[in-house]
């Protein structure tokens, strides 16, 4: 078993990793920026070391600094969390040459699946369904022709992008030309790679994903699907498992595809295969080669500890479970509580938490790094807590989540708590018949109706 894990992240996920280490009885060492000096994970880790100033580029993304820190603290492994360096193949390779175990997949896995075009090509080569589209386009004329062939509307995406960044919808040729150039520029700046691909834009799709866990012995486990269709600007806000629109046949189909992909690319550790569903048709969209924000809902219905499993896998251990298709019971929902003001177009709201009341009771789990009097720094993302509910049925999970949202109080900053209360009351959410884009639509509608009053 690994003995000294460097936690190369911050906030709630850093705390999550520290807790997994504690459960395993191993030492956690956190690398933190000056802005996170007083944060909860820094105070709870077994050891800590300051790796730079507030700016992420100079701290959490600063590979030389993190390497020095790992060297000086004599760690044997590193958990990158999500975001930051979690999908950086260069970082993985440096860890390998420094004989530090990277708790995650291999550099090759990251490189292959990190290029969204290559990922699609690999999946398609194996006769698995991908979102209809064309990859590796550079010439705008060629791209335009292909777009017409696929049929508008189309989605233009950055090959080196992912996680909802660097994508635009074009509904006709004129829009296509405008968005194409804009996307290329954005991609060059954000990902240092102007390569784009196009996909058929599926109207009213559902975003359905399958969690995978693979050990170094070649065993691949697949979990029940998560429905992450409730998004705003391609950022997930509410997730649930299982999906209200996925039956046992669709589930099996998606899980088999996910397993095949993992085996074909020799994947290890945790990951997620994301599908776009239109009606009963499901298409591979992309693969996330890291532990994800929404992993807790899967843990609730399967009684697995995914982060602990990652550490065990990296230690060379086998996953002690009999069935490759992991069984589940009950239903779980997660609300990502962000320090943002929904009234002001979700403007981030950093600052001091003057009064904090966290919910609890039956079927409620809160993954958070905030505490009374904590000052939310302005340098990082706005996620301050993950509110997770569990119930034997979807109705029970919803009712418990509503109870928790009612109890939760975060005074001093704006949060999305009230926004979620409204979403959960909405008949479309209750029926489970929402789709990607629905949340933004009702947000627009409520804004406009507010204006007209």
């Amino acid at each position: 078993m690994l003995k000294r894990v460097f936690v190369a992240n911050r906030g709630e996920i850093a705390l999550r990793i520290i807790r997994a280490c504690r459960d395993l009885g191993i030492t956690s060492i956190i690398g933190y920026s000056e802005a996170d000096k007083d944060s909860l994970p820094v105070n709870l880790a077994d050891e800590k070391i300051c790796i730079g100033p507030a700016s992420p580029l100079e701290s959490y993304l600063n590979i030389p600094s993190i390497l020095s820190a790992m060297d000086v603290m004599h760690v044997d492994s590193v958990h990158p969390g999500y975001g930051f360096l979690s999908e950086n193949p260069f970082f993985v390779e440096i860890c390998n040459s420094s004989r530090i175990t990277f708790i995650g997949p291999s550099a090759d896995n990251l490189r292959l699946m990190g290029n969204k075009s290559e990922a699609r090509r690999t999946v398609s080569k194996n006769r698995l369904p991908v979102v209809p589209g064309v990859d590796n386009l550079v010439d705008i004329e060629d791209a335009c022709k292909q777009a017409k062939k696929i049929g508008f509307p189309v989605m233009i995406k950055a090959s080196a992008g992912g996680g909802g960044r660097g994508m635009r919808v074009a509904r006709n040729q004129d829009e296509f030309r405008i968005h194409w150039s804009a996307c290329q520029q954005e991609a060059k700046i954000a990902f240092d790679n102007p390569s784009l691909y196009i996909e058929k834009f599926i109207e009213r799709p559902r975003h359905i994903e399958i969690q995978v866990l693979a050990d170094e012995k070649g065993n691949v486990f697949v979990f029940p699907e998560r429905d992450c269709s409730l998004q705003r600007r391609h950022q997930k806000l509410i997730e649930e498992t299982p999906s209200p629109v996925v039956d046992v046949y669709i589930r099996k189909k998606l899980q088999k595809i996910a397993r095949k992909i993992c085996k074909v690319i020799n994947y290890t550790s945790a990951g997620t295969i994301e599908f776009l569903m239109g009606g009963r048709y499901a298409f591979f969209m992309e693969m996330n080669t890291r532990i994800q924000v929404e992993h807790p809902i899967t843990e609730m219905i399967t009684n697995f500890d995914l982060v602990k499993s990652q550490i065990e896998i990296a230690s060379g251990e086998k996953i002690p479970y009999r069935h490759n298709f992991v069984g589940f019971t009950g239903h779980s929902i997660e609300c990502r509580i962000n320090a943002e003001d929904p009234e002001k177009n979700f403007l981030p709201s950093p600052g001091k938490i003057k009064k904090l009341i966290l919910p609890g009771g039956p079927g409620i789990r809160v993954d958070t790094h905030i505490y009374q009097d904590y000052i939310i720094p302005p340098y990082y993302d706005s996620l301050i807590a993950k509110l997770i509910s569990y119930g034997r049925t979807r109705e029970e999970a919803i009712a418990r989540m509503q109870r928790a949202l009612q109890e939760m109080k975060v005074d001093g900053v704006a949060t999305t708590i009230d926004f979620y209360k409204k979403v959960l009351e909405h008949p479309v959410f209750q029926s489970g018949r929402y789709y990607v884009g629905w949340l933004e639509k009702i947000q627009e509608d409520s804004k406009n109706s507010g204006k007209n009053q």
Binding site: C50, I51, S68, V72
Partner: protein, 149 residues
Amino acid sequence: MEPEELKKYVDFMKENGLSYLEVRKGDFYLILQTENHIISEASSKKSYIESKTPLSNQENNRSSDYIEIKSPLIGTFYRAPSPHAPPFVEVGSAINSGTTLCIVEAMKVMNEMKSDCSGIIRKILVENGSPVEYGQVLFLIEPVARQET
């Protein structure tokens, strides 16, 4: 320095209720102090204003009159250029801007840390061969005018 520039600093102090302001830009060094400034007051008000000055004494945490030299790197602190050589500086050494104070070794690269102020070394806070983190205070310097060394 132009009067307009001076006024900018004075206005900045007034707007933010400061009683003491220290500015360094390369060779340029300015101190502005109001009548009611109390020198020994510990001022730990953190300012999120980025500036391009060397990292070592960004914030003068004035718990005493000393300037803190902070490590801009993570690594191992060495007082001398090699194991059997004499240390670069000792307590009481007079230093100037540009004097090498120590080495911080990061990943087998020896980084020489140079002072950006003049003064006398009053305290050395880290033991030879110890690990240091980003922002860790290494030396306390009593500032004086340029020294003859």
